[in-house]
Point group: C2
Chain length 145, copies 2
């Protein structure tokens, strides 16, 4: 444990597994709504603020156009999103929630909560974990330059 390399390896792997575990848990919870975890993140963004440009959603989620575009297209095909060319900038497209997406916000939120709060883990450590993860992400982002 005194080897910083080994510790770091384990940290990246632990994060990797946590992400995978979250993704699978959310996938199972969202499956009745025919939504994937990534699609749910897009909805979360738009429930917070509707009518965003594709690039705005990309910035919020940290996703490039090559990832986001197929996700958005599938969500349009499945009746979750609308897409409309911006008047001000003809290169840009405004993404908005459909009626269905607005209606399903509360049911989906309930499904997530009932899954996640089935154990009392989060009340104990979530705040520390969040703080440390945000610090970690700040560190990793800084390392990019």
């Amino acid at each position: 444990m005194n080897n910083p390399s080994k510790l770091e390896q384990q940290l990246c792997f632990e994060v990797y597994k946590a992400s995978s575990n979250f993704s699978k848990l959310y996938a199972r919870t969202l499956e009745p709504f025919h939504l994937t975890f990534s699609q749910y993140l897009v909805l979360l963004t738009l429930w917070e603020q509707n009518n965003l440009l594709v690039k705005d959603i990309g910035n919020q989620l940290g996703l490039g156009i090559g990832t986001l575009n197929p996700i958005i297209n599938r969500m349009i095909a499945n009746g979750w999103l609308n897409k409309e060319q911006s008047d001000k900038d003809k290169r840009a497209f405004v993404i908005s929630l459909t009626e269905k997406a607005l209606e399903q916000e509360k049911p989906i939120e309930r499904a997530i909560i009932s899954k996640i709060t089935s154990c009392n883990y989060l009340d104990i450590n979530a705040k520390t974990l969040m703080t440390n993860l945000k610090e970690l992400n700040a560190f990793l982002n800084q390392l990019k330059e």
Copy 2:
């Protein structure tokens, strides 16, 4: 912040971003070796213990055969791994490191360390973060049942 749902959403997203950040950082570091992050995890596993069955590697990394098989096949094609049918169980295959994989262990480890330790973040918070993440993963795994 008093809403457990919102907190949880942020936690899953923070983990998601951390995983993505780690993956990209490692990808850039491993690129000169023509290795992906997942392939590196396979090497880590085998550097720890050589001559494992495919299922053993899958258990260590938490990956199913549908994910692992293509990774292993690419690594064989790129000269990192050997694959040999087991004598004891003809269904099973023993995966072993090639000379190249054994030779490159130290250079790859050095490349990773020189990237990761370029900031002193990890010396401060990594232990707490690891502990909390392991607890989180235990919680998420428990939630599967």
